[in-house]
Symmetry: C2
Subunit: 434 residues, 2 copies
């Protein structure tokens, strides 16, 4: 076949696979997985590598095998469900997400992308599509980072296997290491083939709930994710002098919290001034010392989370932050410092991938009589961010009601979940067929 013919055949296979997606089956499978750690309030409590996570993994292994997939697990616990391709030696098309939750999360964050991946395999089977490349559904380990820090351990170790040794030393609140919890989990899957971290991948697409309000506000069911915002995290420390709240006259105080609040007010004002440029700024974590009702605060530490798709905006914000901290540091009686904790550059998904996602979403939406997909950027990190360093990658978003996530109230309408899986099926099938 000519390359035009290959494309044509791939698009036709993609359309047939998309049409074979079953809404009821998808939503039932989501509900079934939510039973592992399900709560009476509708939330799910299934932190990574806990007994519930192991049970959920075994449940998925059984489902994947029933669909004809071979199953493997790598040394970071990432699970791969592989549907064979006509050319076994070609790297697979990857889809999937994670199934671990925050201490209390919803049914959809991560789980949706995994279940939709298995639904795509079922749809490929039902539509009788034989793909050139293998298709793999991945379950990444510890995306949330709530039990063991940092998050996205599985996908980032897949992209850079040398990270794993450090991750293994990470401890949860009970002192258990990630390494020990991982080994215990792997020991409970003796029937699953072991593989090395970081095998070759052709391309990757991740389906996820938006976790923000943009799609809902636009009243469209599908979003083409063009990239993931750049993030810079800082810690700001302000030191004054702790002193007795009763005995210390106001005029001689060096109140670190008062100084920190003025600095924070200045940062919020900067953030407001840069809002139109897309800056998002959060001062989320605060530590006040000695944090006593009758002692003037002597030291305050707070974090700054700044995000934007435009790196230049972040660079200007960081300069303003450093200037403000330096001014306070130069003030009588105070010292102030800023420390960079983490930086991640903007992830731009490549144009051929976003164009394919756009076509897939447009077809699903049009067939359902829904509004055309819009472009969105992801404010949150996702496993796809790390995979994007390895191969052409894309993401598809569906709406989150009221933008709520990491919460038992997380919700997306079943019909929207269905359309998202349809879009995913189209993208995976076309990538695997061409």
């Amino acid at each position: 076949m000519s390359s035009h013919d290959v494309s044509q055949a791939a698009a036709e296979a993609a359309a047939r696979t998309q049409d074979a997606v079953d809404s009821r089956r998808l939503n039932d499978a989501i509900a079934e997985l939510a039973g592992f750690g399900g709560r009476s309030d509708g939330g799910v409590a299934r932190e990574t590598l806990t007994p519930l996570d192991v049970e959920a993994r075994r449940h998925l292994v059984g489902r994947a095998r029933a669909l004809g997939c071979s199953v493997s697990v790598d040394t970071c616990g990432n699970l791969f469900f592989r549907r064979a391709g006509q050319q076994a030696d070609l790297p697979p098309v990857l889809t999937g997400s994670h199934i671990d939750t925050q201490p209390v999360g919803g049914k959809l964050d991560g789980a949706y992308g995994v279940i939709a991946g298995l639904e795509v395999i079922q749809a490929l089977n039902d539509a009788g599509v034989a793909t050139r490349r293998p298709v793999e559904v991945v379950v990444w380990t510890n995306e949330e980072g709530s039990r063991f820090g940092p998050g996205a351990m599985g996908s980032s170790a897949f992209a850079q296997p040398e990270r794993l040794a450090g991750y293994r030393a990470s401890r949860d609140a009970e002192g258990v290491t990630f390494g020990d919890a991982l080994d215990a989990t792997l020991a409970q899957m003796p029937d699953v083939e072991r593989t090395a971290l970081g095998h070759a991948v052709d391309s990757c697409v991740e389906l996820h709930i938006e976790q923000g309000p943009v799609l809902e506000d636009a009243n469209v069911p599908l979003g083409v994710v063009t990239g993931i915002q750049s993030v810079r995290w800082f810690s700001v420390t302000v030191s004054g002098a702790a002193a007795h709240a009763g005995t210390t006259p106001m005029e001689v105080r060096r109140d670190a919290m008062r100084a920190a609040l003025e600095l924070a007010g200045h940062l919020y004002a900067r953030g407001d001034a840069m809002r139109a440029s897309g800056l998002r700024m959060t001062l989320g974590r605060w530590r006040v010392g000695p944090n006593s009702i009758n002692t003037i605060p002597g030291e305050v530490e707070f974090t700054v989370d700044a995000r934007c798709v435009d790196e230049d905006v972040l660079t200007r914000f960081e300069a303003a932050l450093r200037d403000a901290v330096a001014s306070l540091d130069a003030a009588d009686g105070f010292t102030a410092q800023v420390q960079s904790l983490f930086t991640r550059a903007t992830t731009h998904f490549p144009l051929p991938m976003t164009a394919l996602v756009e076509r897939a979403c447009a077809r699903a939406s049009a067939n359902a009589g829904e509004g055309a997909p819009i472009e969105v950027t992801s404010g949150a990190f996702h496993d796809a961010m790390y995979v994007a360093d390895l191969c052409p990658t894309a993401m598809i978003f569906v709406p989150s009601r009221s933008g709520i996530s990491h919460n038992a109230a997380e919700y997306t309408e079943p019909h929207q979940l269905y359309l998202g899986a349809q879009a995913l099926a189209y993208v995976v099938a076309e990538l695997a067929c061409r």
Copy 2:
């Protein structure tokens, strides 16, 4: 004798006792007590009812007996060292303070008042003064409140014995109850007579370091404490909505910390406006939820400590606080509440007591060629605050270098400590003789 003759004889006995105070002996005894829990940085770590506190108590019991005192302990662990009076049936004149420290405190906070009390007994002995009334040196239990809350348990239970039952249930960070720690301490003092809480007291005077900078700034060694500031403690809670720092656009956020910071800024401005009226305001303890670097704060709680000698100023400040919180509560997307945690009215020491303290301080200062005493108010709580509910009470302050206390760097010059003990000796002797 006529009452004039009694007064004349009492003043003469007071002067003789004052002159018998020995600086070297006083400062050596302070250093000796500081050995129980002393640290290489000069600080003392001797929290209440710890093994070190028990050792220190036994040390003081031995010293008091060597001075001819009888020793008793009440059901809250308050120790009393009693020098007999000519009329055994008269209630005693009480002096003393506490020997427990903050987790890391200095050598002087509390300990100075106890050691100076024993020095007064030694001086009465050396000067051959026989007092009409008994003199008791008290060691109050748990003034600091750092191990078991609240503070001033011993003196407040002495003033209101019905408080003890509740105090016994208070737990330290290890889960030990105050009641169990108290019983264990008492069990280690089988040779000490037990008494009921709250025996009759004629009058009371407490000598203490200032813990503030006023005397140092005025360059005088002695302060006549006219009263203890009124205190009102509040807790303010601000609720918004926690949400993802990356996915939530700035314009839809309900950031509880941002709202709390604006409220705090308003309170600081109010505090500045009322500073000339003597208001002291501290926002000392902060709790931010969920306190995560990448989550917009959903709930913030902070405390307000407001103090002033003038109750009217506090009443106006409280009204402004409640107005500001109500305004925020009425704002879209936020709720805000203020809760009163604690209120203590101003303690005014009675004029005859402050006049006596003034005479005592003036004589000691003049003999040393030092500046005349000044009137001060106490910004901190003291055991004397609770005893003032029972009998005529007074306090004497000596300077704290740089106003530093609750800190290993706490320091008062030995000569100033000596003058304070001289002033105390005069007051105790005159009260006990008349």
